[in-house]
């Protein structure tokens, strides 16, 4: 969550929610959260685990760039 909130602080178009999975089991089930952290991007793509800054940012950018418009994991 640390990086996601830094991204949100950097660009107003980016929002970052930390969601305590055990308090929102339905949402966690909907997004198939079996392990944490799991980052869901625009309700579709996702990133598993904690990644270093560069990798996490690239994964987020790839998920939201139309050219790389794959449904995600």
């Amino acid at each position: 969550m640390r990086l996601a909130q830094c991204f949100a602080l950097e660009n107003d178009l980016i929002r970052a929610d930390a969601i305590e999975a055990s308090e929102f089991p339905d949402l966690a089930a909907l997004y198939r959260v079996y392990a944490v952290p799991r980052t869901v991007i625009n309700g579709e793509g996702s990133i598993e685990g904690s990644l270093p800054e560069d990798f996490f940012l690239d994964a987020v950018l790839k998920a939201v760039t139309p050219a790389a418009d794959e449904p995600g994991a």
């Binding site: 969550m1 640390r2 990086l3 996601a4 909130q5 830094c6 991204f7 949100a8 602080l9 950097e10 660009n11 107003d12 178009l13 980016i14 929002r15 970052a16 929610d17 930390a18 969601i19 305590e20 999975a21 055990s22 308090e23 929102f24 949402l27 966690a28 997004y31 959260v33 944490v36 952290p37 799991r38 980052t39 869901v40 991007i41 625009n42 309700g43 800054e53 560069d54 940012l57 987020v60 950018l61 939201v64």
Partner: protein
């Protein structure tokens, strides 16, 4: 850092409070914690509010506003809150940084980092990352699922 929820007195231990108070001295600008709760609450709701208020009590630069998701619908819409407990960390403006559920355990330090970063108005990211983030021109919603342990 934060004790189990069978505790009703203080969620933050005295020695931790001293350490947190020290960290919060790095704050520059005031931060507001906008907390949404709900009367018919989830079991963690009351504890989350208490934790948010205890953290706010450790710095005179932190203010808390508490709203009810069901009663303060306009405010909830303004912040895009759709579930509770929710806590927004903002300064003069809302940067879209929210914590749904209790920011305890491992997430507690993330919560403190959010307060510090928002207070400083500085993400602390690398220059490269900032440049890349500046190129984002469409809304991005990151939902990071976490657990306290």
């Amino acid at each position: 850092m934060v004790k189990g929820r069978e505790q009703h007195m203080g969620l933050i231990r005295d020695d931790d409070a001293t350490e947190i108070r020290e960290r919060l001295k790095e704050m520059v600008n005031p931060v507001r914690l906008i907390h949404f709760t709900q009367e018919l609450n989830l079991e963690y709701g009351r504890e989350t509010r208490q934790l948010v208020e205890e953290v706010a009590g450790l710095s005179d630069k932190i203010g808390v506003e508490v709203y009810n998701l069901l009663l303060d619908k306009e405010r909830a819409a303004e912040y895009g809150v759709d579930k509770v407990p929710a806590t927004i960390v903002r300064n003069g403006k809302d940067h879209g940084i929210k914590f749904y559920g209790i920011p305890a355990g491992y997430e507690f330090s993330t919560f403190l980092d959010a307060i510090l970063n928002v207070s400083k108005g500085d993400s602390g990211l690398k220059p490269d990352s900032r440049e890349k983030l500046a190129t984002v021109t469409q809304p991005v919603h990151l939902e990071v699922f976490v657990t306290p342990t």
